[in-house]
């Protein structure tokens, strides 16, 4: 911030004077509290949640729950594939950011939190977490179609899914802009003492925004029940992380804000579940933390992004890590299911998504008069021109 008025300077001077006084009181003879060179040798520890390290029994997940997670990840995948088709058919317009490849993150997180007690806020790539939280394919597809039965009554579209009942505080369009809001949601949980915590998701690109740093500092300063989650899909739009950040190891961003940090392989839903569970536990103890999720986005940034900045080989190699294939192998290897049963789930999910397209198509466009709805809380606001 730039220049301040005299009164502000006066305020700062006072604060500084107090600080100096405190340092002097320690009686080390120095007027300034100078760090010694020994003390500057920083140590930093973080947890790494690797893929393949976890067993669902040990994590306390029932077999049925694991199958439900599989189904949910598949629902996200099929939903978005169909959405991409509908975009081509011009049923959907504007932005359509796909989450394909990142489903283990949303499903892992949604199974770790207490829906309705804890809260979630995310950026514009929000279809996956919405479906993971139990929002229906119908209301989501209808929102993409811009219809009255959409989860935001056709007002938000792809980037702005919301569900108040599930404490889902929305998808947000301005990179980083919602991070302070997530911290504020956490602030309210703590203020009210309702035992909730807020999962605040954002992409790697948002770390470049001041809003992230201000919010991280405030979260730590006020000991807020928040998990700041960097979904590092390696690309901020078309810019690879190493080209945009002096240090692309985002988990280290916890250092200046003095909070615990972890990094998790986002292609393994069990690792994700574990990481989210542990970070939520910290949050419930009013310990904010940073969680970097390493994941991979198979699609371009948005429908208009040809993703030429990645090679085919790169894309193919990552597809072998596909979180859905990984879980499928796990289920078969552990004899929890078989190909036939899993194919049946796929067929069921595909039908659910097709039905959602029909539902969206049959839903009405919002009546024109609803354009004036929900600008303000009060029923009537004739002052809008």
């Amino acid at each position: 911030m730039a220049n301040k008025t005299d009164k502000e300077n006066e305020a700062e001077a006072t604060a500084q004077a107090n600080g100096t006084e405190a340092a002097g009181a320690e009686g080390d003879g120095q007027t300034l509290d100078m760090p010694t060179s020994d003390a500057t040798e920083l140590s930093f520890s973080f947890t790494s949640y690797e893929a393949g390290d976890y067993d669902h029994d040990e994590l306390g997940l029932e077999d049925d729950q694991l199958l439900a997670m599989y189904r949910n990840m598949l629902l996200q995948r099929r939903f978005e594939e169909r959405a991409a088709q509908m975009y081509g058919k011009q049923k959907i317009a504007g932005f359509l950011h796909l989450y394909i490849g990142q489903e283990a993150v949303s499903t892992g997180a949604a199974n770790a939190l207490a829906i309705g007690q804890d809260s979630v806020i995310t950026a514009y790539r929000d279809h996956g977490i919405a479906l993971a939280l139990g929002m229906t394919a119908n209301e989501c597809m209808a929102e993409l179609f811009g219809r009255i039965d959409g989860c935001s009554r056709g007002k938000g579209g792809s980037m702005h899914f919301f569900d108040a009942e599930k404490n889902f505080f929305g998808g947000h369009g301005i990179v980083g802009g919602h991070i302070p809001v997530g911290v504020g949601i956490a602030f309210a949980h703590k203020y009210k003492g309702d035992d909730g915590a807020c999962l605040t998701f954002f992409g790697d690109g948002a770390v470049g925004q001041g809003a992230f740093h201000e919010a991280a500092n405030l979260a730590s300063l006020y000991d807020l029940p928040v998990v700041l989650i960097v979904e590092n899909n390696q690309y901020a739009m078309g810019t690879a992380a190493h080209r945009a950040f002096a240090d692309p190891d985002f988990y280290k961003q916890a250092i200046p804000y003095d909070m615990p940090s972890s990094v998790v392989n986002g292609m393994d839903v069990l690792a994700c579940y574990k990481a989210f569970s542990e970070h939520l536990a910290m949050a419930h103890d009013n310990q904010p933390s940073l969680l970097e999720v390493r994941t991979y986005r198979y699609r371009g940034h948005s429908m208009s992004d040809p993703a030429k900045y990645r090679t085919k080989e790169e894309l193919e190699s990552k597809k072998n890590d596909d979180p859905i294939i990984r879980l499928k192998q796990y289920l078969i290897e552990r004899d929890l299911s078989d190909n036939e049963a899993l194919d049946a789930i796929d067929e069921e999910v595909k039908q659910e998504v097709l039905d959602s397209v029909d539902f969206a198509d049959e839903s009405d466009f919002p009546p024109l008069e609803t354009i004036y709805d929900d600008v303000y809380v009060q029923d009537d606001y004739p002052f809008l021109a």
Binding site: T5, A11, C151, H160, F162, P180, V181, A215, F383
Partner: protein
């Protein structure tokens, strides 16, 4: 009725509301330990404790957004900007989050929050610390904007703003914090948002002015009275929703209007008033509507220049005489 300084009236409103409702908290730079950069929140930390009167780092973007999140999740924050100039660091939060989340969620959430602090010019502070923001924030449907000119209105309107379920931008004035006025203090005294005050009745010309400009208007009305003309002075008090009806009724009587507005002229509050009048009271206008605003430049530093930059009582007086065809 007791006399109070403007800062005391604002404090009284906050204190009474916080006593009434535990979900209200005050957050901002220097609001707690330092008792407020302008001593508006003096004593509030002692009364309410650190949970509810909270100092922040110099992170407007962060704490403005935090307030919005807290409001989304059921609290009723009062966020103080040390001056509204610094709100520009947080403008994404006000414009994209406070004003729009309710709408784009299809009405699922409300954001009962008050952003408040001193607005407009305050002397030789140079360009970045002398901005009037009312036209900027009034531009965005979803926000309400209040700008007060005296302790009594500040008291009654801030209480209404805190109780309002929508985000409210509440504009005070550094130069007026020490100004005294009678305040009708009563915990349930709410001045409705969106209702103008006819401060002085008159027949010959309507002067519309808010915040500091209101005081210029009253001075001009006095001078006109000495000349034998009666000016009607209207303080809109709320910029959005603006009480155009009161202004239109007045102009239908006087047939002339001068707006004094500390904003830069382009797209200012004065512009909107003039537009509404020509649209809704065209056949009652006997003269073009005049506006007296800040000069259309960034605020300069030098004493003579900043004085010239501000709306001038002499210009407003001349404009009134011109529209009455008596100059």
């Amino acid at each position: 009725m007791p006399e109070m300084q403007l800062r005391e009236a604002i404090r009284a409103a906050m204190v009474e509301e916080m006593e009434r409702d535990d979900e209200i908290f005050l957050m901002g730079e220097e609001v707690a330990e330092y008792n407020g950069a302008y001593k508006v929140s003096e004593g509030m930390l002692d009364q309410f404790g650190a949970k509810r009167v909270i100092d922040t780092p110099i992170s407007e973007n962060g704490f403005a957004g935090l307030g919005i999140g807290a409001a989304l999740n059921g609290l009723r924050p009062i966020i103080e900007f040390m001056t509204w100039n610094f709100s520009f660091v947080a403008i994404d939060q006000l414009i994209n989050n406070a004003a729009k989340i309710r709408y784009m969620s299809g009405g699922q959430f409300k954001i009962p929050i008050v952003f408040r602090g001193p607005n407009g010019a305050a002397g030789q502070l140079a360009a970045t610390h002398n901005t009037s923001v009312e036209a900027i924030y009034s531009y965005f449907p979803g926000l309400k904007v209040i700008s007060i000119s005296n302790p009594d209105d500040a008291y009654g309107l801030l209480k209404s703003a805190i109780r309002d379920d929508d985000p409210v931008v509440f504009l005070e004035s550094e130069l007026m914090y020490g100004m005294k006025g009678e305040v009708e203090q009563d915990p349930e005294r709410l001045i409705p948002i969106g209702k103008a005050r006819i401060a002085r009745e008159g027949e010959d010309v309507t002067i519309v002015a808010h915040n500091k400009s209101y005081h210029i208007a009253m001075e001009v009305a006095e001078r006109l009275a000495e000349d034998g003309y009666s000016a009607e002075v209207i303080d809109p008090r709320t910029i959005r929703p603006f009480d155009f009806e009161t202004v239109i009724e007045s102009v239908k009587k006087t047939n002339r209007c001068v707006v004094i507005d500390e904003s830069n002229p382009f797209g200012s509050v004065a512009s909107e008033v003039a537009f509404q009048l020509q649209e809704r009271a065209f056949d009652w206008l006997d003269a073009p509507i005049r506006r007296i605003t800040a000069k259309d430049v960034p605020a300069p530093y030098a004493k003579n220049l900043i004085d010239y930059y501000m709306p001038q009582a002499d210009d407003a007086y001349e404009a009134c005489k011109q529209v009455m065809y008596v100059s």
